[in-house]
Symmetry: C2
Subunit: 216 residues, 2 copies
């Protein structure tokens, strides 16, 4: 009972690394079981098919993702009471986390699955959608606390601005991967940060009066 759980975990870890490195389609069950030192029968004892593996993998990944995101932004709100400041600090922390990823990028499993939808059933695709949506909701909540204090200089689509975090990360990962330069993702996040800062920063005293806005 315990033993089985351990093996299952090992399979998931091996699979996660392989999928993030090469994508789902390019990861064969045979190579997973080879690395795990088990047989095909062993694998199918734990997962009825590759779809179930994908579901479990995505589920784990999302949980971890949310954990990291919450950690980053709770730390950020610790560091500043000002909502705009906190958000900007959070983005900087996010950029740092992304810079420190081992292989240079997590490959973003969400996008990896998105581009091979046909390989998966609806449960996986739905889970993918829920994951993205919940990130959007989190970010949006932060942005709303900002607009309450700093009216934007022009009416802005808060939903789009919130979604833009995921969009920047996913698009940035693609850019980083294609260019072979992990730093591109970091630069994208920081560029987004600067734009948000410009949008909410008070117009007149931005340069002179509020040195805090330059920090973070």
């Amino acid at each position: 009972m315990r033993k089985g759980e351990a093996t299952r975990e090992r399979i998931l870890e091996i699979a996660e690394a392989a999928v993030l490195a090469k994508g789902f389609g390019a990861t064969s069950i045979e190579e997973i079981i080879a690395e795990a030192g088990i047989t095909k029968s062993g694998f199918f004892y734990h997962f009825k098919d590759k779809n179930e593996l994908a579901h479990e993998l995505l589920s784990r990944y999302i949980t971890e993702d949310h954990r990291i995101l919450d950690q980053i932004f709770s730390r950020a709100t610790e560091l500043s009471d000002d909502p705009l400041q906190a958000f900007l600090i959070g983005l900087k922390l996010l950029a740092e986390v992304m810079a420190d990823l081992p292989g240079g990028h997590p490959g973003c499993m969400v996008a990896s699955i998105c581009y091979q939808e046909r390989l998966f059933d609806r449960r996986v695709v739905d889970l993918n959608r829920e994951a993205l949506e919940s990130v959007n909701v989190r970010i949006r909540a932060h942005l709303e606390t900002i607009v309450a204090v700093y009216p934007p200089r022009e009416p802005v689509d808060i939903d789009a601005l919130a979604e833009m975090v995921s969009v920047i990360v996913d698009g940035g990962i693609i850019m980083a991967k294609v260019m072979g330069d992990p730093d591109r993702l970091v630069r994208q996040i920081l560029a987004y940060r600067l734009l948000v800062k410009q949008l909410f920063a008070p117009a007149i005293e931005s340069a002179a009066g509020r040195p805090a806005l330059a920090a973070g």
Copy 2:
């Protein structure tokens, strides 16, 4: 000679539609030849393997992509002499083009290939990189004409800002696909547009003095 070229084109068109709809991995040669009404031998007469099909497909797609982009921004510079205005108009046109795509999205072949790199050889991956880079160069050139006239309110990474167009489009496509809502991509482009506008718009007289900046 002429006949062969025609068949080749037909294969490419069928393949393009299928790949954009379902991704490369999910598009089998067998379904392509079935739709084209030829045999396997016929297919391999034109393309030595799936890789070569990918390369040709990507090459075509890139050419078309650049054509559209150039058309958009040359039209935009026709409509306004002001570089910032022209760029903002260009982004709006881009958003409109993206909104009008038949299936709701082109699927962005670049990203589709990016997430299944192992399926392709270096030539395809390199071509992918060159395509992205050349878009970046184009956008960057526009941005430089802007900063020459409108010094940004804060030092900004022009390269990152230029890359952000591709990033927003690729990330936006993912968002749109996962959410099942093509409009998300459009909103992302418009949000980017607003942020750029805010960044370069003169600080004081933005609200009052320059009505032109609100247009486009």
